[in-house]
Subunit: 413 residues, 2 copies
Amino acid sequence: MAATEPGQLDPVSPRTANLAALLRALRAGPLSRTQLAARCGLTKAAVSGLITELSERGLVRSAGLQGGGNGRPSQLVELNGASACGLALSVEADRFAAVVTNLDGRVVAERTETADVAALGLHRSMDELAFLARQLLLGDQPVGVTVSVPGLVDSAAAVLRFAPTLRWRDAEIADLLAARLGLTVDAIRVDNEANLGAVGEVVAGVGRGVRELFYLSGGTGVGGGLVSGGTILRGARGFAGEVGHITVDPSGEQCPCGRVGCLETKAGLSAVLRGAASPGDPLHDPALGVDGRVGLLKHRVRRGDQRAVAAVSELGVALGIAVSTVVDVLDPDVVVLGGYFAELGEWLVEPVRRELSARPLGHEPACRVEPSPLGTTAPLRGAAHLATERLFADPTLVPVVTSSSIDTAEAPA
Amino acid sequence: MAATEPGQLDPVSPRTANLAALLRALRAGPLSRTQLAARCGLTKAAVSGLITELSERGLVRSAGLQGGGNGRPSQLVELNGASACGLALSVEADRFAAVVTNLDGRVVAERTETADVAALGLHRSMDELAFLARQLLLGDQPVGVTVSVPGLVDSAAAVLRFAPTLRWRDAEIADLLAARLGLTVDAIRVDNEANLGAVGEVVAGVGRGVRELFYLSGGTGVGGGLVSGGTILRGARGFAGEVGHITVDPSGEQCPCGRVGCLETKAGLSAVLRGAASPGDPLHDPALGVDGRVGLLKHRVRRGDQRAVAAVSELGVALGIAVSTVVDVLDPDVVVLGGYFAELGEWLVEPVRRELSARPLGHEPACRVEPSPLGTTAPLRGAAHLATERLFADPTLVPVVTSSSIDTAEAPA
């Protein structure tokens, strides 16, 4: 169910594929060999041999006995969460963030540093990011690294093609970080923040268990991430989901992009703040940061400030049109309003639902609309999930460290 | 490369999967056993055994010798196109159509019958369609049937949920046709005409070899079909690509659907014809049929008729906005203008390309825009392809008929 990217992984041998299938099955919790055999379509003998290998690699361990319904108890096997870790990094206009997670998804360490990333430039930013990562890793070698960036990414090449807020073009993020972290380039994946936000919602947010999801993220720009069939939908060049410049009003404002009436001219944070207050108002004070300005806007809407209420109401109309369009194109199960839209969810979800329920398809709108419960952390959550994903596709990435510490025999069922 | 729907097929045994891989490899033309072994990752001994079975099922045959570059010639094997056939059917508002194709995609028989399908109703329409099919099949049993319908389809259940032009709801097309044609329900696939049009373009039109394609189809309504990663993108309920009611002008006309400024209010055929001529003009004469009215419109644009030119120019603007939106969402390699848009392609392709080249992504627009070379036959071409697809996934659907007529030995390489 978790979003993975099989296309990016090297083909593995049938034995490795079976090791991987067992490891993934154990993600949901401890299981007996008999249960593993049933879930993975393997014989119990094959499972025993494979579990021995996973144990020798340190990836699984015994988890006590399970009382059998009809007789003798079974030995349980569980994931050894601490045996490996993944590193998630994110670059935003005003901050770097890093998270180290266990194999079982638990956060081991995390840190955020504010910075003027555009002013730092690419190379010094990569120095900072690597420094942050080393502080958290404490010498551990991650099985994978995923980097979230705000821009157009060629994910196959692990290159950030263009990030307008950072003014970076063709930034070879994976190469730069691999050199700084002493890792191979193929351990590092680079992805767009909205794509990773969509994955975050699928693994840890309102999209759990969902295979078709649209994540719409509000910030200085407006971005989107798509999950279809349980994997990120990328399109031909990796730019799918770039909804910031879809037309929501052809008689609207000129957008710096060259088009007219783009979603960003109505839903980008600065456009909304301009609508909500005159120049010079504290709502425009960069010193407050994005979170501070959104918090102030929210406070004013609560208080009933007319301009703030009108600006958020217009934002709801624009999001309604944009979301309806994407829903018609993609037919998702869930639409998630992320980034700063999540903060304003109490005023945005209803107008979007209303526009969707005016749908012409002759059926109840089955598509849910929800504010992101993860807020601005969704991309980092998605990145953390994908960072360990490499190991769940190929458990032989970690070496055999000990002879098996696990009982190779199981009490007969 | 061909669009297939593996999700809909039952899992097959490893041997069957290998038979299928060989059969698919032979689609491109005759190959030797050595070549087949290399392409399918099998040993030459395995290939020989599998080819014997395919030959016993009548699906392949010897195709003479190929001069070896470095010595003795090799025996070639080829698809036996005439050994099986697929049936494609289509229902449109004003006609039924049927095509029977060979295993190699060659058309064996085809026929179109005009009819007022809405007036006939569902059951009499299915009688007519089955009658048409039996006339073409001449007693042959197709390996698969694909039915193209103009509406929302639950393709897993093979049910047409809603077809506004036919006024059919929850029509169990596969059940009704299976009973009339003496076939099992699982041999019959029902799909939306725009989805099948997209497949048609991938297998036989401007999308050959393309894995990401958007097919936009103009008719009374406006529909869309998406191919992503080489397969039809369906979304959660099978309604992906339904772009007829995306908003292209929020200050535009009220649409019967309940929304305002939908693409159909600008690009549906009757909207365009209303723009091009006053009531009472022959352009609105239903007796001319869709093709006749579009032909007349085209004639007037060529002649420079002002209203006709203006109407087609407005249509280009609306398509530009809609296509740009879908391109931002999906990032396809190719956009195909199908249905009546293809007929007017010489005036529509340029405005769409112009709007796309105003893209903000900071890269040359790599997305091609092309009129459909298949025109209104694209859905039937896609349906014909998918009708035989079942056999290419499971060659054991046809029984063993003879002992192998093929040489089991090959001249040593």
